[in-house]
């Protein structure tokens, strides 16, 4: 039986390709499987081609990429438009609509000859059983349920629920179309080995969502009651989710007139004492930087999510890239530090947002969360999260004693000064972007500026030892070290799994706290390392360069970095690891992979 199945489906916009993928992953989540689904569209706002990839597995999976185990083409023209996003190999099972008129031995697949091909009259089946071509996607999920054993029970219920509003005739038609798919699969059996085995972690249902919705839900959990932002791909769903929900919690969403006003309102809400969030993507981030500087000097907590896309400028709005790290680290002018967090998956987004609010409140600072287009838009199964394990931090309020002689920017030992807010008697002060003394009064004193700068950096010292914000996997004393972050860390985790299965001694560091660079954590990690890779989706390899500003890395650690819209595959990381071999396998041993090649 199969443990891991990657299904790619492509068709014309309106064929319901994404809806079919969602049905599959929903059924999988209900049945306790692990899964990731990504979708991709042509650049048209409506219509055009659409595709999705659904990876279903019996164990946790961290990345949606890799060659397809199953390819479904509703028409070949649209399928081929997705090129390397839907790679077909000879082992791929190909299912296509016979309505395309293409012969099974003449598939337009550039030299690849799949061993198993099903030409299925999908369009005719939809018309015959549901009376409409619109049911093609329902036939497809019936076929997949039949052949691979997913959702045979749950999908009919899902179909009934989905079409309930359209009346009994539509419900029954779609139910028949689904059954026709099942029947076709039963009449053309596929060998048992392709059926997905039972999930190893049990049949308990998993959560299913994408990074943007998870971000918004986490913000509500963290106590956020104010959001303001401006629509921008691929972050807009965060505002949309919060607009549906935040009012119920006494909160407000303000769609601002521009990106600057969006973060401006958030700075204001924070000054008024509320936990506040804004979200954007690269171009918006460029506009928000002045406000980040203001919030830093006024020491106001806020969380700013940047769902990274390809840049610079408008760049590639619907493609993932990790090229905004420098911008986040060095946003706004002047000597300043703002913590940066990066989730590596949809599930990880929850903790990243809670951590971001906690750091913002504790250190009275803007915190930047670097998500990316892939995490934000992909649907992923998530093990149910025990929210009681998360502690929520509130900003340090002045005591009555503090208020008797209130100094908003008091130079304390920790560098953190109790913060009041309008409405608090005796806490009146002037917040300002201009340098100020302990009382908040404007100053032009160089000595005071130096002391305030020192305070605003010193308060972050505890972040050097927040080891809970780092993931370390693999052999602790391995001579080979991988570092990766964000969605690409999922590829690195799978590459690590493959490498260790081959007997390579490798370990992986995934920083969720990207900045400030936690020097002791990197020093400890690299103590045993002789060579390694920083795997990043940016031309420059920005984390590699940023870490080197603070930590001396072993000379043989190098970036494995490239521009976005060209995702890494675990297998290619593995190949790079094999090439690093000679110095790694001391004692003159040869690399295990080379022995295999003999």
């Amino acid at each position: 039986m199969s443990q891991d199945l990657i299904i790619g489906i492509a068709g014309a916009g309106g064929d319901g390709v994404v809806s079919a993928g969602e049905s599959l992953i929903t059924a999988a989540a209900l049945e306790g499987y692990h899964g990731i689904m990504t979708k991709s569209f042509g650049s048209q706002i409506r219509g055009g081609e659409a595709s999705c990839r659904v990876r279903l597995a019996t164990e946790p999976v961290f990345n949606p990429n890799g060659p397809l185990d199953v390819a479904v083409a509703l028409n070949w023209e649209d399928f081929r438009r997705f090129g390397s996003e839907l790679p077909v190999e000879s082992a791929t099972i190909v299912i296509y609509d016979s309505n395309t008129g293409v012969a099974p031995d003449k598939l337009p697949l550039d030299g690849v000859t799949p061993r198993v091909v099903f030409s299925v009259p999908i369009t005719e089946m939809a018309q015959q059983h549901a009376g409409t071509e619109m049911a093609k996607n329902v036939v497809v999920i019936g076929l997949l349920a039949g052949w691979f054993g997913i959702g045979r029970e749950s999908m009919p219920a899902g179909i009934r629920k989905k079409f309930a509003k359209k009346g009994a005739a539509v419900v029954e038609g779609n139910a028949r179309a689904f059954q026709a798919g099942l029947d076709f699969a039963a009449a053309h059996p596929l060998s048992q080995e392709h059926q997905l085995a039972a999930p190893h972690t049990g049949r308990k249902a998993k959560l299913l969502t994408d990074g943007n919705d998870m971000c918004a839900a986490a913000a509500i959990f963290a106590g956020c009651t104010f959001f303001s932002g401006y629509p921008i791909t691929p972050s807009t769903e965060i505002m949309q989710f919060l607009d549906r929900e935040i009012w119920k919690y006494g909160g407000t969403v303000l769609q601002a007139e521009d990106e600057i006003a969006g973060i401006g309102a958030v700075v204001g809400a924070s000054f008024a004492g509320k936990k506040a969030l804004t979200a954007t993507s690269g171009p918006g981030m460029s506009l928000k930087t002045e406000m980040l500087g203001l919030a830093s000097i006024a020491e106001l907590p806020l969380v700013c999510v940047n769902v990274q896309r390809g840049g610079p400028s408008t760049g590639m709005p619907t493609k993932a890239e990790q090229a905004d790290l420098f911008q986040a680290a060095f946003s706004a002018h002047g000597d300043c530090l703002r913590p940066i967090l990066a989730p590596m998956s949809v599930g990880d987004m929850f903790g990243a947002i809670v951590d971001a609010f906690n750091l913002a409140e504790e250190f009275q600072t803007p915190v930047i969360v670097l998500s990316d287009q892939e995490i934000s838009q992909r649907k992923e199964t998530v093990e149910p999260i025990d929210t009681s394990a998360f502690r929520l931090v509130e900003r340090k309020r002045p005591t009555e004693g503090d208020l008797a002689q209130y100094a908003r920017f008091k130079l304390t030992e920790s560098g953190i000064s109790p913060i009041s807010h309008p409405g608090m008697i005796g806490g009146n002060y002037l917040a300002s972007g201009i340098e100020h003394n302990e009382l908040g009064r404007p100053t032009a004193s160089g000595a005071m500026h130096a002391r305030m700068n020192e305070k605003r950096f010193r308060k972050f010292n505890p972040l050097q030892n927040r080891r809970d914000l780092f993931l370390v996997e693999g052999d602790p004393d391995a001579p080979v070290g991988l570092v990766s972050w964000g969605s690409v860390a999922g590829v690195a985790r799978e590459a690590l799994r493959l490498a260790r299965a081959e007997g390579l001694q490798v370990k992986l560091l995934v920083p969720k706290l990207l900045y400030p660079v936690a020097e002791p954590v990197y020093r400890d990690f690299f103590a045993s390392v002789r060579c390694g890779l920083f795997i990043e989706q940016s031309y420059q390899g920005q984390l590699y360069r940023l870490v080197r500003m603070f930590v001396d890395l072993p000379a043989l650690v190098e970036p494995f970095a490239r521009s976005g819209s060209n995702p890494f595959q675990p297998v290619e990381v593995l190949e790079r690891l094999r090439k690093l071999a000679p110095p790694l396998h001391g004692n003159g041993d040869r690399h295990p992979a080379e022995k295999v090649a003999d």
Binding site: T26, A27, L30, A157, K161, A205, L207, L208, T209, D213, M214, A217, I220, F221, G223, T225, F226, E245, W247, K248, Y249, G250, G251, T252, L254, A256, E257, I260, A261, G262, G264, A265, V267, G268, A269, S270, F271, A272, G273, K274, A276, E290, M291, G293, L294, A298, P384, T387, H421, P422, G423, G427, N428, L430, A431, S432, G433, I434, R441, P442
Partner: protein, 297 residues
Amino acid sequence: MTALEPIAVDKPQAGNFKSDLKPIWCAGCGDYGVVTAITRALAAIGRPAHEIAFISGIGCSSRIPGYTTAYGFNTVHGRALPIAQGIKLANPELLVLVASGDGDGFSIGGGHVAHVIRRNIDLTYIVMDNQIYGLTKGQLSPTSQRGRKTATSNFGSLEEPVNPLLYVMGYGASFVAQGTPADMPGLARIIEEGIRFPGFAFINIQSPCVTYGEEDQQLKAQKVRMRSLESIGHDPADRAGATERAREYGTRLYTGILYRNPNPPRTYGQGVIERQQSLQKLAAPRHEILNRFLPGH
């Protein structure tokens, strides 16, 4: 039976709202009069200083929050309004004042004015309009007259000035007034009226720059030129008449309330509170928020 002594009420005085911070302004600057008028208006309103948030941008005028005892926020150039909106929406109980200059309000931050008006956020926006950039030492401002010679228009300005009164009338502001420190009681009164108005209130103040301003803009000249709108029989409820008077900005110096909507529209904040109250009952406990991601939920 002895008559009860009336209970002494600590009526706030203007002095309660003045901080002991010494202004950086030049001697004779119109802004001294503005801070006095604001503190007098606040005393008349009677809200305690800790319930007042006073937000400003950048410029000579924007130093003003620090000269009061309110919670102040001296922000960045042109962005006082968005920040003030966040404060007001986050805590609708606060009395929110915003101060800008003509450059802050109608040049770098001009884009925000239309939106705060159409949202009708309940705050009072005070612009100290001196037709010059004073803090940076005398450059052309968006309200400088065409032909004006400044440090950056050595041969005379080639552009028409913004008309702040017409600008806000055009976007539908419900309360529009103009004053000058040359008429201190009048100025304090329109600020007080603006604060009392339930919704967005705009107050343009002809506050002269003593260093870079021209002779005919100074308080002495203003005292001769200014005309009270009341004295010419203007009805503040007359929107068309108000628009006509607003067109005379730059040629005539009117003081008083130009327009006050007799039927103040709903504020954004009222809408927010109603929505929060009506949706409150639908809230799942925060710690159960993730349950919605269970398939079939």
